[in-house]
C-alpha cells in the first residue's frame, strides 16, 4: 500500500506519473462514484460520470494547488459533470414527454422497488441519501463531503426518506 500523502501524489501526478494518480483513484473513487450515483440515480450513468471525473482530474491535476484537497476537488468535478448530465437527460426526457405520457395512460404503473424509487427522487435529496446509506450512515461525514451543516443533512435525509416512503407505499409494494 502506497503511504504517500495525497499532496505528494498530486505533485507526482502533475509530473505525469500515472502510477501516483492510480493510487489517488483507489483512494477517492468510491466517494466520487457515490456522488455521481447520488446525483444521477443510476449505476451505469454514475460509472461513466465517475470515470470522466477521474480522468478530467488527471488532465487538470496541475491546477490543484492544495493537493490535500484532492478528494473534495475531484468530488466537485464529479458533481458538476453529473448535474450537467442530469440536465441534458431531463431535456431529452421532456422532448420525449408526449410519447411517455401516452404510454402511461395505456398500461399499468410499473412495479417499483427501492432502487427505482431512489432513482426517481430529486437529486438534491438523493445525493445525501445515497451518501448516508451507502457509506456508513454517518451524518457528520456527509455534511463534510457536501459542505453543508449536519442539521441541513438531517433535513434533507428526513425529506428523502419520507418521500421515498410515499413513493413506495403509493405503488403498494414495500420491499
Amino acid at each position: 500500500m502506497d503511504e504517500r500523502s495525497d499532496n505528494e501524489l498530486v505533485i507526482a501526478s502533475c509530473q505525469g506519473d500515472r502510477t501516483a494518480y492510480a493510487v489517488l483513484v483507489r483512494r477517492h473513487y468510491n466517494q466520487t462514484f457515490l456522488i455521481c450515483l447520488g446525483v444521477l440515480g443510476h449505476v451505469h450513468d454514475a460509472e461513466d460520470a465517475a470515470q470522466d471525473a477521474m480522468i478530467k482530474g488527471f488532465q487538470q491535476i496541475c491546477q490543484l494547488r492544495t493537493g490535500s484537497r484532492y478528494g473534495a476537488w475531484v468530488g466537485a468535478i464529479a458533481r458538476n459533470l453529473s448535474v450537467n448530465l442530469l440536465r441534458k437527460r431531463k431535456m431529452t426526457e421532456r422532448a420525449l414527454g408526449a410519447e411517455e405520457s401516452s404510454r402511461r395512460h395505456e398500461g399499468r404503473p410499473p412495479r417499483d422497488d427501492v432502487r427505482q424509487a431512489v432513482a426517481r427522487l430529486p437529486w438534491d435529496l438523493r445525493l445525501p441519501l445515497v451518501m448516508y446509506y451507502f457509506d456508513g450512515q454517518n451524518v457528520k461525514t456527509v455534511a463534510e463531503k457536501l459542505e453543508i451543516s449536519t442539521s441541513g443533512v438531517y433535513q434533507k435525509l428526513k425529506a428523502a426518506i419520507k418521500e421515498l416512503h410515499e413513493m413506495l407505499t403509493t405503488q403498494g409494494d414495500m420491499p
Binding site: 470515470q51 480522468i55 427501492v114 446509506y133
Partner: protein, 239 residues
C-alpha cells in the same frame, strides 16, 4: 393501512435517522406502542432503511472492478499539461486586479505624459514653425534635441515593458508559495510599477519644460508660444 399522526411523521423520521435524544426516543416508543398508524409508518421507514443499506452493499461490490476500469482508461489519456499561469480562484482574482491596476497606471500615464503620437505631432509642428522663423543651424540643434528625447522616451517605455514582463513571469513561478504570499508579491510589484510610471510622467514633463526653455533661449518668445500650443494639444486627455 392506517395513517400516521400528521404531527408525528417528522419525529418518526428523526428517530429512524438517530437524531432524537434518549428522552425523545423513549416518548416516541411509547406513542407507537399505542398508535397503529405511527407504528406502521415507523416499520415502513425502518424496512426502507434496511433496504437502502442492502442496496448500498450491492452497489459496493463492484467498486474494485470500476476502479480497475478507470485506471485502465487512464493509460490512453495524455498526462496533465503543466501551465505557466495556473488558472484557479485566488490567482485569477489577483491577476484581474493586477490587470486593472496596470490598465489604470497606463491610462494615467497616457493622460499625464506626452504620448508618442502626440510628441511626433509636436515635433512636426515645431519643425514647421522653426523652418519659418529661425536660422538653419539653430533649427537643426533643437530638432536633434527633440529626436534624442523621443528616443530616450522609447527606451524608457521598452525597459518598463521588459521589467513588467520579467516580474510577472517571476511571480507566476512563485505561485506555488500560496495565494496569500502571491497577492502580497503582486501588490508590491504593482506598487513599484505605479512608482515607475509616475517617475516617467515627471521626467516627460521635465523634458518638455526644458525644451521650451531652450527654445526661448535660442529663438525668442514667439516660437515658445507656438510650442506651448502644440504641447497643450499633445498632453490633452485622449478621447
Amino acid at each position: 393501512m392506517n395513517e400516521p399522526c400528521p404531527n408525528m411523521q417528522d419525529r418518526i423520521a428523526d428517530y429512524v435517522l438517530g437524531a432524537l435524544d434518549a428522552g425523545e426516543a423513549q416518548a416516541l416508543q411509547e406513542h407507537v406502542r399505542e398508535c397503529t398508524g405511527c407504528r406502521q409508518y415507523l416499520q415502513g421507514l425502518q424496512e426502507q432503511s434496511e433496504s437502502l443499506v442492502e442496496l448500498g452493499r450491492e452497489v459496493d461490490t463492484g467498486m474494485t472492478a470500476r476502479q480497475d476500469r478507470v485506471i485502465e482508461a487512464l493509460e490512453s489519456v495524455a498526462p496533465a499539461a503543466r501551465r505557466t499561469f495556473p488558472s484557479f480562484g485566488g490567482f485569477i482574482k489577483t491577476a484581474v486586479a493586477a490587470v486593472l491596476l496596470l490598465g489604470a497606471g497606463i491610462t494615467i500615464g497616457r493622460w499625464t505624459a506626452p504620448r508618442p503620437v502626440d510628441v511626433t505631432r509636436l515635433r512636426a509642428d515645431l519643425e514647421t514653425s522653426l523652418a519659418a522663423s529661425i536660422r538653419p543651424a539653430a533649427q537643426k540643434d533643437v530638432l536633434a534635441q527633440v529626436d534624442q528625447r523621443l528616443q530616450a522616451e522609447a527606451q524608457q517605455r521598452a525597459e518598463l515593458a521588459r521589467q513588467t514582463y520579467q516580474d510577472l513571469h517571476a511571480l507566476a513561478e512563485q505561485s506555488a508559495a500560496g495565494t496569500a504570499s502571491l497577492e502580497r508579491l503582486m501588490n508590491g510589484k504593482f506598487a513599484e510599477l505605479v512608482e515607475i510610471i509616475e517617475a516617467g510622467r515627471k521626467t516627460d514633463r521635465g523634458h518638455v519644460e526644458r525644451a521650451l526653455q531652450e527654445m526661448r533661449t535660442q529663438t525668442g518668445l514667439g516660437l515658445q508660444a507656438v510650442a506651448l500650443r502644440a504641447s497643450h494639444a499633445a498632453t490633452r486627455v485622449p478621447d
